[in-house]
């Protein structure tokens, strides 16, 4: 009993603000050394809690004879689940869930290493999702650390003005495609943008994890250290998600990013302005005959990201005609199944957003509960001390003793609420993760629709070219001997038509490929979501049960200790 008393006061110290602790001189001298722990330092509190012997662990496998007077049917008449027997045998074997939740950091035991970091990184909010690779022995673990300031070496007018931050990206893997099992490189954020852009081009139709934002405003406004740390966390999350994707983890782009020392060997993206400028230069030539048609290989990329302004305009015109003129475009999205799935995704996104918000509110409410409980405990501890010091009568000492029990229990319960909450955050984070994933889904669907648009545009183009060719042939056939200039034009047109045909075939192939990617990704999403959500629910519920049991144990003890006061009949 003494041990847990001390424990209680230790907890009180950890929770109290420094000022309060200075005023709080308790009887037990051993507690004065804990003055350095601060209230809001979650991490240190949690890690130190992991060390301390849990005062309430194991014995709470309640034997039937030991039946808790509070659980007799007469006193619990409301929401008690009718088929949970009121004696404690329903949760004796196996051991109570209080035992399952023995350490704040032991997540669902079956999680693979992907995405799971060491416990004392408070930054580890990347929930280990079930994106298990097909063979469970594959693993790839990426860590981002060690941010450093570096100088831009190229000629800059003002020396020292161009500094940027690089991060150490360390990989450990046993996947064969990589050159080795452990390696690291230094990259800057710009490299990540490049990686992300190249992946978007190569993997159209896939649900590619969205990269971290550029945060231009925040980088100016926030404290440098804080911003860099925030970015480090985001980068790590991003890279781990990439590594968790069954297709992308094998991509050349990712491999290059993770392995190649020195400069990133991927073509950089040019900004929109330069692209438009290039395109504007080409445009006159395009309009006046030369290279009026997109080269077939270019059609595998959407018009929007490229330099071909003419193609951009054509596709834009096509999409307008699709929407407004009401004429049915030559090829439409016919896949009803896809359309249904699209609606479902939209629905899912809305509900995820809602659930995610409510999850946040729940977490806040749990946190508040824990805080207030702790404050109450602290107030009673002060009262206890006061009564003991000022005691004139024996009754005061009795009150003080009673109060101390309640206070200690309140402080313990408060700690449990906090732990419960930390775990709840981890579990419900799955909702946030999937909400973020919806962005990737949007991206993949828009890859599909822009590919479709390209196809539609080419088909219309083709048909208008062909009708022009027909008209010319009709006109030229009326002239005996042939019209040299017209004949030449017809020849040119026929060339153009051939090229356009080729482009059309390429575009259709690309469209079909993207459709396939969409399909397989949707299947994967459904599968993984099913598993992840199930784990989330299980984890959440187990967590709630475990901590509720712990809290119940704490209060049951106090109720027993004060049972002499059982209320006189009113």
């Amino acid at each position: 009993m003494m041990g847990s008393d001390n424990q209680g006061f230790e907890e009180a110290h950890m929770l109290a603000s420094r000022e309060e602790m200075e005023n709080l001189v308790l009887d037990e001298p051993s507690n004065n050394s804990n003055g350095t722990k601060s209230f809001s330092d979650y991490r240190s509190a949690m890690s130190s809690l992991a060390d301390t012997q849990h005062p309430l662990s194991p014995p709470m496998v309640v034997a039937p004879g030991d039946s808790d007077p509070l659980l007799t049917p007469s006193s619990i008449n409301d929401l008690r689940n009718p088929h949970v027997s009121t004696d404690n045998s329903s949760y004796i074997e196996p051991p109570s869930y209080a035992d399952v939740i023995f350490s704040p950091f032991d997540e669902n035991a079956g999680n693979e290493i992907n995405g799971v970091d060491s416990p004392d990184r408070a930054s580890d909010s990347s929930v280990s999702l079930s994106r298990s690779p097909s063979s469970t022995s594959d693993y790839i673990k990426i860590t981002v650390s060690n941010p450093q300031k570096e100088q831009e070496t190229s000629n800059s007018l003002v020396p020292g003005s161009n500094t940027y931050v690089t991060y150490l990206i360390a990989t450990r893997t046993n996947i064969p495609g990589f050159s080795g099992s452990e390696f690291s490189v230094r990259r800057r954020f710009r490299d990540v943008v490049t990686l992300s852009d190249r992946l978007a081009e190569s993997y159209r139709g896939f649900f590619i994890p969205p990269r971290p934002d550029k945060n231009l405003v925040e980088s100016q406004v926030m404290q440098k250290q804080e911003f860099v740390e925030q970015r480090r966390v985001a980068l790590e999350k991003y890279l781990r998600r990439l590594a968790a994707h069954p297709v992308i983890r094998k991509s050349d782009e990712l491999k290059a990013f993770l392995q190649v020392q020195g400069k990133l060997p991927l073509p950089t993206s040019t900004d929109v302005a330069s692209r438009m400028l290039d395109g504007a230069v080409k445009l006159p030539k395009q309009l006046f005959g030369e290279s009026a048609v997109a080269a077939p290989h270019e059609v595998v990329q959407p018009a929007k990201g490229g330099r071909d302004l003419l193609r951009l305009f054509k596709e834009l015109r096509q999409s307008v005609s699709n929407d407004w003129v009401g004429s049915k475009p030559p090829v439409v999205e016919e896949d009803k199944e896809f359309l249904e799935k699209k609606d479902r995704m939209h629905d899912l996104e809305q509900q995820l957003s809602n659930a995610s918000q409510q999850a946040e509110s729940l977490v806040k409410a749990q946190q508040d509960m824990g805080e207030t409980m702790g404050e109450l405990g602290l107030a009673f501890i002060k009262l206890t001390k006061f009564e003991n010091e000022e005691a004139i009568f024996t009754s005061q000492r009795v009150t003080a003793a009673d109060m101390k029990n309640v206070a200690t229990a309140a402080v313990k319960a408060s700690r449990f609420y906090r732990e419960l909450n930390a775990q709840t955050v981890k579990h419900l984070d799955t909702l946030h993760e999937y909400l973020g994933l919806m962005l990737s889904v949007h991206g993949a669907f828009s890859d599909r629709s822009s590919a479709l648009l390209t196809v539609q545009t080419l088909i219309s183009e083709l048909s208008s070219l062909q009708s022009r060719a027909e008209k010319l042939e009709a006109a030229s056939s009326k002239i005996f001997g042939g019209d040299k200039s017209r004949i030449r034009k017809i020849e040119e047109l026929k060339d153009t038509i051939r090229v356009t045909e080729d482009a059309k075939h390429v575009a259709i192939r690309e469209y079909e490929r993207i459709k396939d990617n969409n399909r397989s990704e949707l299947e994967r999403l459904d599968r993984e979501r099913h598993t992840d959500f199930l784990n989330m629910l299980k984890g959440f519920v187990l967590n709630q049960v475990g901590y509720a049991e712990k809290i119940a144990n704490v209060w049951t003890k106090v109720a027993e200790e004060t049972s002499a006061y059982s209320r006189e009949s009113t």
């Binding site: 509960m369 004139i392 319960a413 009113t570």
Partner: protein
């Protein structure tokens, strides 16, 4: 409702057979809102059951309102100096307009406790004013109420002044600046210090208790909202997973009900007793002020007498005709002074008894409150554990 026993130190007027132990039991029930708008008030039915001979009969029912209780408290405070008069619930000018069911119930409960504490106090239970309160008709009550000029009728500012004076005197003594007009009784000083500090500590605890009640309600609400959102999310999924979601959502919503219930219990059985404790301590402060007044009065008279003595001696020496008059005045003053001393000493004696009674009572009250608190929290936590646990078999079944 507490059945009060008459203290054995009082004289009994009727033969005591085993079945007729003296009792005085009162209940305050049936709150009814009367009047409109600003004039609205609550009336209560006060039922008295007694075999005290001074009472008109074995049972009496009257209708009373809050200000009637105030009248009673003021009269008792006037007459029974030194006794810690039981506290009343706050006047609450604001909540009056809202009159929520909870507020009404809390007030009713507090009034019931108030009147029963009076009935079980060996001195107070014999008060004539109590008998009036319990038996008089409403017109009489109204008349008496409007005549009242008790201490608590004073403006809050005056009251604060009195308290402040006592408080500064306490701190002065603590700082070693003893003023001659104060008692120099170290034990009493200790008691005063204790009372003042106790109020601070208790208020803080009570504040947190009140907040805790709110937190329960908030947690309940967020569980309900979360449950709803989860159900909607489940509707997007199909099959077993969807069902799991909807079960979880439903469970979450049901826990909201549980939490609201517990919040109410917490308010009634824990926060309110703490509040009551605070009020009791404030009532003691009023008694401390009375004692200070009595002491000051006694000292002033003592001073005056000394002066009169000197004057009288002077007059006697000069053989003035005023000697007779002065002698008379002196005698009167002497009597007054003795009376004042008696009154003061009585207060001291009574307070000494009261403080013991108070401490014992408080230990019991708080013990009960703590027990209820712990019981309630244990019950809540167990319910929560059970509710969530019932989901686990189904969740297990969902696993691929």
């Amino acid at each position: 409702m507490i059945t009060a026993q008459r203290s054995s130190s009082g004289s009994s007027h009727s033969p005591r057979s085993p079945s007729s132990q003296p009792y005085l039991s009162i209940s305050v029930t049936d709150p009814v809102k009367l009047g409109n708008g600003v004039q609205a008030y609550i009336s209560y039915r006060v039922i008295t059951k007694t075999n005290f001979p001074e009472y008109q009969g074995p049972e009496k029912i009257v209708i009373r309102r809050y200000s009637d209780f105030v009248w009673l408290r003021d009269r008792l405070f006037e007459k029974y100096k030194g006794v810690f008069i039981p506290p009343l619930p706050e006047k609450s000018a604001v909540e009056k307009f809202r009159f929520s069911a909870e507020f009404i119930e809390l007030r009713r409960q507090a009034l019931d406790i108030f009147v029963n504490r009076i009935a079980s106090h060996h001195e107070l239970q014999q008060s004539e004013d109590l008998r009036t309160f319990l038996q008089a008709d409403e017109e009489t009550m109204e008349r008496l109420r409007s005549q009242d000029t008790g201490i608590f009728k004073k403006k809050p500012a005056d009251l604060m002044q009195i308290f402040k004076e006592v408080q500064t005197k306490v701190s002065d003594v603590v700082l070693g600046k003893e003023k001659p007009v104060e008692e120099s009784n170290p034990e009493y000083e200790k008691l005063k210090n204790y009372i003042f500090e106790l109020e601070n500590h208790l208020s803080e605890a009570q504040k947190h208790a009140y907040r805790l009640v709110k937190r329960h309600r908030e947690l309940g609400q967020s569980l309900s909202d979360f449950g709803k959102a989860v159900k909607l999310l489940g509707a997007c999924e199909g099959d077993a997973l969807g069902k799991a979601f909807s079960d979880l959502g439903a469970k979450s919503e049901s826990l909201c009900v549980r939490l609201q219930k517990e919040a109410h219990q917490l308010l009634m059985n824990f926060e309110e007793p703490l509040k009551d404790y605070v009020r009791s301590v404030q009532s003691i402060k009023a008694t401390i002020a009375e004692r200070a007044n009595a002491f000051r009065h006694q000292c002033e008279l003592a001073e005056t007498i000394k002066l009169k003595e000197i004057n009288l001696d002077k007059l006697m020496l000069t053989r003035s005709e005023k000697v007779g008059e002065a002698e008379l005045e002196y005698k009167e003053l002497k009597a007054e002074s003795e009376e004042a001393t008696r009154r003061f000493e009585n207060i001291v004696r009574v307070m000494n008894e009261e403080i013991v009674r108070f401490q014992d009572q408080k230990t019991l009250d708080m013990g009960i409150a703590f027990h209820e608190f712990a019981k309630g929290q244990a019950r809540l936590a167990n319910n929560i554990a059970d509710a969530w646990r019932s989901l686990l078999p189904k969740l297990e079944a969902c696993s691929p």
